[in-house]
Symmetry: C2
Amino acid sequence: MKTAIIGTGLIGRAWAISFARAGNAVRLWDAEPSALPAALDFIRIVLPDLEKNDLLNGASPDEVLSRIRGVPDLSEALADVDYVQENTPENIDIKRKVFADLDRHAPPSAILASSTSALLPSQFLEHVSGRGRCLVCHPINPPYLIPAAEVVPSPWTLQGTVDRAAEFLRSCGQAPLVMKREIDGFIMNRLQGALLEEAFRLVADGYAGVEDVDIGIRDGLALRWSFMGPFETIDLNAPGGVRDYAERYQQIYSRLFPSMQRRVDWTGSVMNAVEEERSKRLERDKLAERQMWRDRRLMSLLAHKTKADREIGS
Amino acid sequence: MKTAIIGTGLIGRAWAISFARAGNAVRLWDAEPSALPAALDFIRIVLPDLEKNDLLNGASPDEVLSRIRGVPDLSEALADVDYVQENTPENIDIKRKVFADLDRHAPPSAILASSTSALLPSQFLEHVSGRGRCLVCHPINPPYLIPAAEVVPSPWTLQGTVDRAAEFLRSCGQAPLVMKREIDGFIMNRLQGALLEEAFRLVADGYAGVEDVDIGIRDGLALRWSFMGPFETIDLNAPGGVRDYAERYQQIYSRLFPSMQRRVDWTGSVMNAVEEERSKRLERDKLAERQMWRDRRLMSLLAHKTKADREIGS
């Protein structure tokens, strides 16, 4: 497939790696032409690490890099493309203008996808004449390390667009979550928000420390979640499956919900406690170093999961 | 350490494995003496699997088994013990009576810990004369595969009891979350409940399918959570750390919370959709087989994490 990346910041350049390692041609375009060499430099640095962890589908870094090309002219970047991934700032007016441009220059058969996490597709697609082929494909960054990506239709998106976008993402090794209709926060940020809100509340109300919450997820709940998800987890946690689980335990959970109503200001006094505890565990000038550790752990976890899928089953 | 397991159902027998493989002597006691051989049979079956995954601290299954002994008499089971783990039914009256018995028979220096998940320690410990040495140590089952365990003091638990219980659990390879005071659901079930409630709501309201939610966690959020936890995850997701993250993104999350207020009946009509989708992915007569798959994946994940901790850092 021929793909174009519109906007080559953190998200755009990461998508470029995902698309190119799957064998697609990738054209990079940015409103600021000087951004293109910076994006290509980043990609050049990341590819050897991915190769070391067997995350380039057997290709060499040079092969993958040869599929990616910076193109300063928008109409040239969009000529003959099959799939466009937009990654411009989270601003309704910018997205509206960009999608009008994409719709004008890209061939009518091309899918036009936005990486937005903060906007609903209906907020910027209504007046795009080819809105039937437009939608949101929202990654968790970086998509070359985290497979999940949300596919979110606007009210005008054609079913064929949704299906083709999901199929393309799958062909790139991503794991699409296909939403039936849009809602603020999509799926992943809603689940994360619900969990974080309760985590902040437990710390704010003096029940637990920051590290205790992290242990409960890292050495507890997320172990099973990392290869099953929460629904399969409860499906296997009662003799009769998920219905049996809900019938046995809903009552216990229901007692908890009233005390989960109070909102906590994450930037209020609880943040002093959170930041103090995090600073003790990680000096504030070591954040970038720790991010590199995180990405190495992610690569290693993905290699483990691929092996376990093959040897034990998925 | 000399330990006693009071009640040898699923949780009790699982604790026995965790304690014994760490080198502790374990006495099993159950109100129903015929339960003891069944528990020992279960342990005998599990140990070789753990050995294969290098989860017995280098000991053989026979060595570990030799540390575990069924004892039909309660006072004999408790003579000279250092640590008692209670696993009787989730019933206040039963727990009250059992803890009075434990307090009477165990040496005054012994810690008395309950595995309860549904009761608060204050609900059954108030009238125990040695209540200062009593607390809750709540595992995720099975504790020999999932390190996290909640340490929950009652209002009367001495700090020394909390510290010693946490230290003992650490010596068994568990990862204790030490609560500062009790709250219904402790930490892990509150976090799980918050996430599940939003998951059920997304399915009930027609935004997402069951499998889409599972993908979002399994191939998305839980990858990082499984080695960092949610607080460290957001600490690394903004250039200036966790405070920067909250300042940048709280506004986006705040917009989501009002639509998270509506309660969903998990056993209501949404359950038809959930069960139908789960049944398509896993026939209802294959649940037990899939549980065995889950435990093999858990063992394999633990082996991976131990290796990654060593090679990449924890």
